[in-house]
């Protein structure tokens, strides 16, 4: 454990060194300039209570603010609309002091009552927010969610610049929840005015204002000159052009007509961008809070034998699978992705060792292997990955039949206790909503997810580790965070002893931008402002 800590500290030091180097090499940010960003699909909505896809996620972040946010390009929490916050000793009461003089785009000052209203709006079932569940730890959530009340009892406003939130149990992830888009502060009068169409007429406190939206064609974000952070944003205007085929968008980018190709690099062009030095300069690579994994249903024979699961872990050639997807990922050895706090760099995982796998399988009483089924989503490249897994399994005598189905059907099969022995998670894989390891446990490896219709497709339920997880989530004090991350890391590597998953790879993200764009690379693959942090990028 000690070795781990030293290594961690060392890597942090190295990381900060590199960051400093980058900061020096870059010129100082310049204000001004208009840029063009393209996307293929319509922007679904800019309502922060509803928008939940990787395209509108950072757009909403640029239009709205919440009490908390992250340092640009990192996963480090910082207060945003809150000036400061305090946490009570029992970890249940959060008191946020708001900034004075923060104005909505309509000119009115943001007050504590707006924060309360916004949280209640997201939780209110009439809003139909996909993020309502994140706030379940607030006192009074159940009453509001079941329509018994129209308020959140746990949220109070002692004065115009103070918000107090009481939780039913300590929750170390609560500050992350307050940084989610779903906790953005919205003005009631604008929501009332536009009703269900608020998402087309967003009014927030963010760095940009929506100036124009021609449905299906373009959106225009202009700088909010009243933004409370002086000098931010750097850009005067962002034109989002909608409806561009990703391949066409890249051709236009090469010609200088487009600054950021929002949809990234289509597979057909990927190798060119990866290998050609001219193109390489334009592509930024970043980590995603994502892991692709193979679940093994621990309640179904013969996968209920830990030796069989370990054998499968050793049988799969992850490097080959990464090659199948043109190297758009890195092989994984544990459930947590490397960018997540708690990731154990010293953990080696199971080696790729076919002979050992065969021996383990024989020890478990299956020297000739067995027949099983592998569920997979039916869009490329998932079936090809499943075939690679199938071949690897065949090498140790396990005959897996591939069941290639539509996404909804695979999710349903995984959520049914005796249906899917093996599921390849690709195309449905868990991408963390916020950079905290707890988001990677409960729903997909904890007992709470091992229910009918749940996401724990391995049906892994280890009560001892669940108790540890609860202990970790009760560690709310800032000075406990390092210990908490380590505890989480240990929970995940301990789970790997039982081998409910084969962690296969961590997908990476690729953003392509024109040569004239400035700002550190981290802004273009921001782990939170997915895909790009529009507030801090600038034009050279």
């Amino acid at each position: 454990m000690k070795a781990t800590i030293t290594k961690l500290a060392l890597s942090v030091a190295v990381a900060s060194l590199t960051l400093a180097g980058v900061a020096q090499a870059d010129d100082a940010p310049k204000a001004g300039g208009d840029i063009v960003v393209t996307y293929q699909n319509d922007v679904a909505t800019l309502d922060p209570a509803i928008g939940y896809d990787w395209q509108n996620w950072s757009m909403i972040k640029s239009l709205f603010d919440g009490l908390m946010d992250y340092k640009p390009g990192t996963t480090e929490l910082v207060p945003d609309l809150a000036e400061s916050y305090t946490i009570s000793d029992d970890g249940k009461t959060y008191t946020f002091k708001l900034r004075h003089g923060v104005k909505f785009h309509n000119g009115r000052e943001m007050k504590a009552s707006d924060v309360k209203y916004s949280l209640e709006r997201t939780v209110n079932p009439k809003t139909q927010s996909p993020g309502a569940g994140f706030f379940s730890s607030i006192v009074g959530f159940d009453d509001l969610a079941s329509d018994k009340s129209d308020q959140l009892r746990g949220v109070t406003t002692p004065d115009d610049y103070t918000v107090q939130i009481t939780l039913s149990a300590p929750d170390a992830t609560f500050l992350h929840v307050m940084a989610l888009n779903f906790a953005s502060v919205v003005p009631k009068e604008a929501v009332d005015k536009w009703g269900a169409d608020f998402g087309k007429h967003p009014v927030g406190t963010g760095a940009y204002k929506l100036a124009d939206w021609a449905l299906g064609q373009r959106l225009e974000f202009v700088k909010n000159s009243d933004y409370y952070k002086p000098g931010i944003p750097y850009l005067d205007k962002i034109d989002f052009e909608i409806g561009q085929e990703p391949t066409v968008a890249l051709m236009r980018l090469e010609r200088g007509e487009v600054d950021i190709a929002g949809d990234g690099v289509p597979p057909a062009r990927f190798l060119q961008f990866k290998n050609d030095p001219q193109h390489q300069k334009l592509m930024v690579t970043g980590d995603q809070l994502q892991t692709g994994y193979l679940t093994m249903n621990v309640t179904m024979a013969p996968l209920d034998d830990v030796k069989v699961r370990q054998a499968i872990n050793m049988a799969i050639n992850k490097d080959r699978i990464v090659r199948i997807i043109n190297g758009r990922a890195k092989p994984a050895n544990q459930p947590l992705p490397p960018a997540m706090p708690g990731y154990d760099k010293s953990y080696q995982g199971y080696p790729y060792d076919v002979d050992k796998a065969k021996a383990l399988l024989a020890e478990a009483g299956h020297p000739n292997g067995f027949d099983t089924e592998l569920y997979v989503m039916n869009t490329d490249p998932q079936p090809r990955i499943a075939q690679a897994i199938q071949q690897d399994l065949a090498n140790i005598g396990i005959h897996a039949e591939i069941k290639s189905l539509a996404q909804a059907n695979v999710i349903a099969a995984g959520g049914d206790k005796d249906q899917a022995p093996l599921v390849w998670s690709g195309g449905m894989a868990w991408i963390a909503d916020f950079p905290d390891p707890s988001n990677f446990w409960g729903p997909i490896l904890g007992c709470e997810g091992a229910v009918s219709g749940g996401w724990n497709w391995a049906w892994y339920c280890n009560e001892k580790l669940d108790a540890e997880a609860q202990k970790a989530d009760a560690m709310v004090a800032p000075e406990q965070q390092q210990a908490r991350a380590e505890l989480w890391g240990k929970i995940f590597t301990d789970a790997m002893v039982d081998a409910p998953w084969v962690p296969i790879f961590n997908e990476q993200r690729f953003t392509v931008h024109s040569a004239r764009m400035g700002g550190s690379d981290a802004l273009y693959v921001d782990p939170v402002h997915v895909p790009v942090n529009y507030d801090y990028i600038w034009v050279k």
Partner: protein, 308 residues
Amino acid sequence: MIWFITKRIAYAMLILLGVSFITYLLLYLIPADPARQIAGRSATAEVVANIRHQLGLDLPFYQQYLRYLGNLLQGDLGRSYVQRSEVAALIGSRLGATLQLMAAGIACELVIGIALGMLAALKRDSAIDRLLMAFSFIGVSSPHFIAAMLLLYVFAVKLAWFPMGGYGGVSHLLLPAITLGLLGSGWYSRMVRSSMIEVLHQDFIRTARAKGLTRARVILRHVLPNAITPVIPMIGIDIGIFMGGLVVVESVFGWPGIGQLAWQAIQQVDIPVIVGVTTVSAVAIIVGNLLADLIIPFIDPRIDIRKS
């Protein structure tokens, strides 16, 4: 005349009812749960049930369908599950662009189709004829996606004659319209060719030549008007096929029309938008056919709709 139109409109209504029923049923049967999709992964079972109830998805199929029809009669196409805005507004904002591209695309089809058909008929059985007919065959059978990409690459990227996709003035419109025209012209050129060959053999053509008219005048004044009649109803039928091509061509060229909307909605399983676009397309096809039937008597007085 009035009777004919009334009858056609009554048929049209029945067809629309059938189309909406089949679309609605198909989408009801696909294994996607819109309530779960809206609620997100963090949702509890109660939240999902609550949303299902609000959308009326917990009702039996016939009630859902009747509800949809009732709203449709009032011009309400519902709200998109993904975008949460009115389907009518989404379609309305894209209708203009689609009509523009449709008009330009069909005009290109006609110009290219008729010109090539005439040329092939006049040079019948020559190398040119065979080449043109082979071309028309390739045109109608080539996949729109590949062809559109190819044209975009050659004319917009390599030669830079046109802008690379997007919405705008005539320069933006031309390339997608020509793509649609080239790919769809095969139907027309083959039709014009065969009907022209037929007309060329008729007695009155020989008479016209015999009375000393020039070859050009014979073709333009006597052959073409007679040979072109079957093209008109063909346009009506073609609108249906054309819509299919529109979906792909709009997506490739980034043309903000209904086809692109349909393409996105299908990928996101946005059922109200899919049903809405299907209904609007069905209306377009029916109206197109009706118009074609009504216009024909003006072009060819021998056709009398009162007798049909």
